[in-house]
C-alpha cells in the first residue's frame, strides 16, 4: 500500500523503457496508455483513501535508501499531505489527458514522443510525492529535460530558438533554487534534506533572520523564473507557442506549479522570517507585472497559442499575490487555483491544437465561424475560456475568490487592481471565442475548409478533453473535496 507512490513513479518509467523494444505501433500505444493510466488511477485511489483530519501530517509514507543516506542524509522519502495531494491528483489527471491526446496524434516518431512524455509524467508524480527536498528538485529536473527535447524536435515555429531559450532560463532558475535549497540544508545545520526533519530543526530558530532573508530571496527568484514571474516570464509564451500540445499541457498545466508548490511547501514554512522582506516586491511584480502588464500584452495577441501562453503567465500573478498575502485563506486559494489553472490551461492547449488541425493556422485573424462546422469543439472551448476567466461553477472561481479574500487583508489597493485583471481576462477570452468560432468566415478559413471540410472533435480528442472538463466541473461544484485537505494542512502548517 505505501509502495503505491513508488509505483506511480516507476510505472511510467517502465512503460517508457518498454517503448524502446521494437513492437507494432498499436502495441506500443497500448503500453503507453497503461503507463499513463496507472499513475492517474493511483492518484484517484489515494485521494479517495485520504483522511484529511491529520493536519499537515503526511500519509502513505515510505522511505528508500539510494546510497546517500549516511553521507548526506538524502533518502527517497515519499508521502502526501493535504497540500501535495491536490497537485498529485492534478499531475495524474493532466498526465493521462496529455497522454491520451498524444496517443491519438499523428506525431512523427510517435514511440519516442510517448516515451519522453512518460518520463515527464514519472517526474511530475515524483515531484509532488517527495518529502525529501533533494528528490523534489531531482524529479522536477527529470520532468524538465524531456520538455526541452520535445520542444526542439516536435515543436512548431522557432522551435530551435524556443528550446534553447527555455533550456537556459529554466536551468538558471533551477540552479538558483538548488543553491537556495542547499543553503537551507547547510546553514540550518540539520544535515538532512528530509522536509519534516528540516521543519523540526528550523522551528528552533536555527536560522537567523538575515540568513532567512537571503535564502528566501534566492528561492523566490529561482522558483520565480520557473513560474514565469515578471520580468523573467519571456520564455513562457515563446516556449508554449513552440511546444507540441501534450508537452505544453504537461508543462503549463503541472510542471510550472513546481515553483509555487516549492514556495508554499518548503520556502514559506521553513523561512517565515525571510518572507516579510520580500512580499512588497513580490506583490508589486505580481500585480503590476504579471496581472496588469501581461494582461494587456495578452489582449494584443493574434496567435492563439501565444495568447494562451501569456494568459497563463498572467494567472501566475494571482498565485504570487496569494503567496504575498501570506495568510491561510490566500495560500489555500493558491493551491486550489494551481489545480484549477492546471486543468483549464491544459484543456486550452489541447483545444488550440485541435483548432489548428481544422484551420491550419494559429492566427486568430484568419479564423472565424468555426462553430458552425465544429459545435462540440466550440462548446468545449467556451467552457474552458469561462473557467480561465473565473466563472462560478468552474474550479478556477474558488481559487481566485479565496486569493482575493486573503489578499484584501494584505493590501486593498493590490487586491482591487488584481480584481480588475479579471476584466482583462474576460476581454481577451471572449474576444478569442468570438474571433475563432463566430462571425463571418474569413477568406483564409474558407479556402482551408474548401480543401478539406473540418470535422467536429473526434473521440480520440474528446476523451482527454472530457476528462479535464469533468475535473473542472467537479471541483467547481464540489470544491470541498479538495479544499478540506488543503485547508487543514495549510492551517496546521502556518499556525502562528
Amino acid at each position: 500500500m505505501p509502495d503505491l507512490l513508488l509505483l506511480s513513479i516507476l510505472a511510467p518509467l517502465a512503460a517508457a523503457l518498454l517503448l524502446l523494444v521494437p513492437a507494432p505501433l498499436a502495441a506500443r500505444k497500448f503500453i503507453a496508455g497503461v503507463g499513463f493510466a496507472i499513475p492517474a488511477l493511483i492518484a484517484l485511489y489515494l485521494w479517495s483513501q485520504f483522511n484529511p483530519t491529520g493536519g499537515a501530517s503526511y500519509h502513505f509514507v515510505s522511505r528508500y535508501d539510494t546510497g546517500l543516506k549516511d553521507a548526506l542524509g538524502i533518502t527517497l522519502y515519499l508521502g502526501l499531505n493535504g497540500i501535495a495531494l491536490p497537485l498529485f491528483v492534478l499531475a495524474g489527471v493532466v498526465g493521462l489527458a496529455a497522454g491520451l491526446y498524444a496517443i491519438q496524434s499523428k506525431a512523427e516518431r510517435l514511440p519516442l514522443y510517448l516515451g519522453l512524455l512518460l518520463v515527464m509524467q514519472a517526474g511530475l508524480m515524483g515531484v509532488f510525492a517527495s518529502m525529501d527536498v533533494f528528490f523534489f528538485y531531482f524529479f522536477h529536473e527529470l520532468a524538465l529535460i524531456p520538455t526541452f527535447i520535445m520542444v526542439g524536435v516536435w515543436g512548431g515555429r522557432d522551435r530551435g530558438y524556443a528550446a534553447m531559450k527555455l533550456t537556459i532560463y529554466l536551468t538558471l532558475g533551477a540552479m538558483l533554487s538548488l543553491i537556495g535549497l542547499i543553503a537551507i540544508y547547510q546553514q540550518s545545520g540539520a544535515e538532512t534534506f528530509d522536509l519534516l526533519a528540516l521543519r523540526q530543526e528550523l522551528a528552533h530558530g536555527s536560522l537567523a533572520a538575515g540568513e532567512q532573508k537571503t535564502i528566501f530571496g534566492l528561492l523566490l527568484v529561482g522558483f520565480g523564473i520557473l513560474v514565469s514571474l515578471f520580468p523573467f516570464h519571456t520564455w513562457a509564451p515563446l516556449g508554449y507557442g513552440a511546444a507540441p500540445s501534450s508537452a505544453a499541457m504537461l508543462h503549463a498545466g503541472v510542471l510550472k506549479k513546481f515553483g509555487l508548490y516549492g514556495l508554499i511547501q518548503i520556502a514559506l514554512p521553513l523561512l517565515p522570517e525571510g518572507v516579510g522582506h520580500w512580499v512588497g516586491w513580490l506583490a508589486l511584480l505580481a500585480v503590476g507585472g504579471n496581472v496588469l502588464y501581461i494582461g494587456f500584452v495578452t489582449i494584443a495577441q493574434r496567435d492563439l497559442k501565444q495568447m494562451i501562453g501569456y494568459s497563463s503567465v498572467m494567472h501566475m500573478g494571482y498565485a504570487f499575490l496569494g503567496i504575498a498575502a501570506y495568510n491561510t485563506i490566500g495560500l489555500g486559494g493558491v493551491v486550489l487555483m494551481m489545480v484549477a489553472h492546471g486543468l483549464s490551461v491544459a484543456l486550452l492547449f489541447l483545444l488550440s491544437t485541435s483548432i489548428y488541425h481544422r484551420t491550419q493556422t494559429f492566427d486568430m485573424d484568419d479564423m472565424g465561424g468555426l462553430a458552425q462546422k465544429a459545435p462540440v469543439l466550440a462548446a468545449f472551448f467556451v467552457t474552458a475560456t469561462m473557467a480561465s476567466i473565473g466563472l462560478p461553477g468552474l474550479a478556477n472561481f474558488w481559487g481566485e475568490l479565496a486569493i482575493f479574500v486573503g489578499a484584501w487583508k494584505f493590501s486593498a489597493v493590490y487586491t482591487t487592481l488584481a480584481v480588475s485583471g479579471v476584466i482583462i481576462s474576460a476581454v481577451y477570452g471572449l474576444r478569442s471565442v468570438a474571433r475563432i468560432f463566430f462571425g463571418p468566415v474569413t477568406p483564409a478559413f474558407a479556402k482551408v475548409s474548401a480543401e478539406k471540410a473540418p470535422a467536429d472533435l473526434a473521440w480520440g480528442e474528446k476523451m482527454p478533453a472530457l476528462l479535464l472538463l469533468v475535473a473542472l466541473l467537479a471541483i467547481g461544484f464540489w470544491p470541498k473535496s479538495l479544499s478540506t485537505p488543503v485547508d487543514t494542512a495549510i492551517t496546521a502548517t502556518f499556525r502562528k
Binding site: 539510494t66 546510497g67 546517500l68 543516506k69 549516511d70 553521507a71 548526506l72 528538485y137 531531482f138 529536473e141 527529470l142 529535460i145 526541452f148 527535447i149 526542439g152 524536435v153 522551435r159 530551435g160 528550446a163 534553447m164 533550456t167 537556459i168 536551468t171 538558471l172 540552479m175 538558483l176 538548488l178 543553491i179 542547499i182 543553503a183 540544508y185 547547510q186
Partner: protein, 507 residues
C-alpha cells in the same frame, strides 16, 4: 649506509604490493613478444589479448580490493603508500585504459599504422598512473609523471601521417617539458630548504612527503618553500589543464587521435587530481597559500573553459575546453577538501561520473570520425539521431551527464562537489560555478541540437552534387557493449548511487 640498512630496505620492498602494476608491465611486454612470434595475419588478436589481460587484472584487483594486506602501509621505504583511495584510483585507471584500448581498436582500423605499440604504451602509461596515485615521495612522483608524459608524447602524435597530429605532439612535447621543468624546480626548492641541516625542523628524507611536511610544519612562513609549493602546484596545473596553464589543451586535444584525447581528458586529468589530493596534507601548514592559489585558478578555469567552449565548432576542441571547465569544478572541490575530508570522496565520485560520460562521448566521436581524425565538426552530426539512433542516444546521455543534468551521474557528481564547497564556505567560487554550469548548457545542448533537431540546409545549386556523407564506422560487438555500459552506468548512477557513494563519502 651499512649493509644491514640496505638489507632492511630490500626487505621493505614488498614487490607483491604492486602486483597490478607489474602485471600491466608484463602484459605490455607480452604484446611486443606476441607481435614478433605471431605471423602477421594473426596480429589482429593482439589487441584482444591486451583487453582480455586488462580485464583479468581488473577482476583480480576487484577481488583483492579490500582484502589486500598492504592497505594503509608504506612499502619500498616510503616511496609508496597504499590506501583505499589508491585502490580506487588503480581501478579507475584500469577501467580507462580498457576503454581506451577498445576505442583504439576502432580508431586504428582506419589508419595504416603499427597497431601493437599503441596498446603497449597505453599499458605502460596506465601502470605509471597507478604508481603516481600511490606515491608518497617526490622522486617517485616525478619519475611516474615523466613516464606518463613521455608515453603521451608518442601517443599524441601517433597518427604520424597527419600534420595536425604531429603539431599536437610537438606542442605537447614542448609545453610538457616546460611544465615538468617547473614541477622539478619546485621539488628541488622544497628539497633544498627542508634538507638544509642548519634549518629548524630539517629532515634527512627531504624527498619524502613526510619529511617535507615535517619541515613545512616547523617553518610556516619560509619564502623559498612558498615558491616551491607554488611551482609544484603550477606543474600539476599543467597536467590537469587549469588556467593559466591550459593553452596546450585545444590544439593537442584536436590533433591527438580520438582515443588518446579521451585518455588525456580522463585518466591524465584524474592522475593530476590524485597527485594534488595526495599533496594537500603535505602542504597543510601552508594551507592559506594553497587555498589562494587554487581558488583563483578554479574560478578562472571555470569561466575560461566555459566561455571559450561557447564558440567552438570542432567537437574535439569543444570537449577539450569543456574539460578545462570540469577541471575548474574539481579544483573547487580540492579547495574544499583542505578543510573537509568528505570533499575528496565527492571529487572521486565526480571523476567516475566524468569518466563514464566522457568515454561515452569520445566513443561516439571515434565512430563518427573519418580518416582525418582531427577534423570533427558539429555539422557531421546533422540528422545523426535518425541515421544512428543507438550512437545518438549514447551521445545524448553522455553530453547530458557532462552538462550535469539530473537524473544522470554527472549531476550527482556536481551536486556532491557543490555541497562540499558550500560546507567549506566557498560562496564566491560557487557563484562562478553556477554561472559556468548555465553557460555550459548552451554548448552541450548545441551539440545535442545538432544531432537531434533536423536542421535547415541550403538547397543544392544546379549541377551541385549531394555532399558526400561521412561514413560512420559500424558499431562492433565490444564497442557496442562498452557504449551501452557507459550509458547505462551514467543513468543508473544518477538514480541510485548505492554503495559507491556510501563507500567514497565515508571518511
Amino acid at each position: 649506509m651499512t649493509i644491514d640498512q640496505l638489507q632492511a630496505a630490500a626487505a621493505n620492498n614488498l614487490w607483491a604490493a604492486i602486483t597490478p602494476e607489474i602485471a600491466l608491465g608484463v602484459l605490455a611486454l607480452l604484446l611486443l613478444g606476441l607481435e614478433m612470434l605471431l605471423p602477421k595475419a594473426r596480429h589482429a588478436i593482439i589487441p584482444a589479448c591486451a583487453i582480455a589481460g586488462q580485464l583479468g587484472i581488473l577482476a583480480a584487483l576487484a577481488l583483492n580490493f579490500t582484502a589486500t594486506p598492504y592497505l594503509d602501509r608504506d612499502t619500498f621505504n616510503g616511496l609508496l603508500h597504499h590506501s583505499r583511495d589508491g585502490q580506487y584510483l588503480r581501478a579507475f585507471f584500469l577501467v580507462s585504459s580498457i576503454l581506451v584500448s577498445i576505442l583504439g581498436v576502432v580508431a586504428l582500423a582506419r589508419q595504416k599504422m603499427p597497431r601493437v605499440e599503441f596498446f603497449h604504451i597505453v599499458l605502460v602509461v596506465t601502470a605509471a598512473m597507478m604508481l603516481l596515485a600511490q606515491s608518497a615521495n617526490f622522486v617517485l612522483l616525478f619519475v611516474a609523471l615523466e613516464t606518463i608524459t613521455v608515453g603521451f608524447y608518442i601517443l599524441v602524435s601517433y597518427t604520424r601521417a597527419n600534420p595536425l597530429s604531429l603539431e599536437a605532439g610537438l606542442k605537447y612535447l614542448v609545453l610538457g617539458a616546460l611544465s615538468s621543468a617547473i614541477l622539478l624546480f619546485g621539488i628541488v626548492l622544497l628539497y633544498g630548504v627542508s634538507g638544509n641541516p642548519n634549518a629548524l625542523g630539517s629532515t634527512d628524507a627531504p624527498m619524502s612527503y613526510a619529511g617535507v611536511h615535517q619541515f613545512l610544519k616547523a617553518n610556516p612562513d619560509n619564502f623559498l618553500a612558498s615558491v616551491g609549493i607554488v611551482f609544484v602546484l603550477a606543474g600539476i596545473a599543467f597536467k590537469i589543464g587549469a588556467v593559466p596553464f591550459q593553452i596546450w589543451i585545444p590544439d593537442v586535444y584536436q590533433g591527438a587521435p580520438t582515443p588518446v584525447t579521451a585518455f588525456l581528458a580522463v585518466a591524465s586529468k584524474a592522475a593530476g587530481f590524485a597527485v594534488l589530493i595526495g599533496l594537500l596534507p603535505v602542504f597543510q601548514p601552508y594551507a592559506g597559500l594553497v587555498t589562494t592559489v587554487l581558488s583563483i585558478m578554479a574560478g578562472a578555469t571555470i569561466l575560461f573553459g566555459n566561455l571559450a567552449a561557447l564558440t567552438q565548432h570542432n567537437v574535439k576542441r569543444l570537449l577539450g575546453l569543456s574539460g578545462v571547465s570540469h577541471a575548474g569544478y574539481l579544483l573547487m572541490g580540492v579547495v574544499a577538501a583542505q578543510t573537509l575530508p568528505q570533499a575528496v570522496g565527492a571529487i572521486y565520485f565526480y571523476l567516475f561520473a566524468y569518466l563514464l560520460a566522457s568515454f561515452a562521448v569520445f566513443a561516439v566521436m571515434t565512430h563518427v570520425a573519418g580518416v582525418n581524425d582531427a577534423e570533427q565538426d558539429l555539422d557531421h552530426y546533422a540528422d545523426f539521431a535518425k541515421k544512428r539512433p543507438y550512437l545518438a542516444g549514447v551521445l545524448a546521455i553522455g553530453l547530458g551527464s557532462l552538462a550535469g543534468i539530473p537524473p544522470l551521474a554527472g549531476f550527482m557528481g556536481k551536486l556532491l562537489v557543490f555541497i562540499a564547497a558550500f560546507k567549506a564556505g566557498l560562496y564566491p567560487l560557487l557563484a562562478i560555478a553556477i554561472v559556468g554550469v548555465v553557460l555550459s548548457i548552451y554548448y552541450y545542448f548545441g551539440w545535442i541540437k545538432a544531432a537531434y533537431f533536423s536542421s535547415w540546409r541550403p538547397p543544392l545549386a544546379p549541377g551541385e552534387a549531394e555532399p558526400a556523407e561521412a561514413a560512420v564506422t559500424p558499431v562492433g560487438l565490444s564497442a557496442g557493449i562498452a557504449l551501452g555500459a557507459l550509458a547505462v552506468g551514467s543513468v543508473v548512477l544518477g538514480f541510485f548511487q548505492g554503495p559507491i557513494a556510501t563507500w567514497l563519502l565515508s571518511r
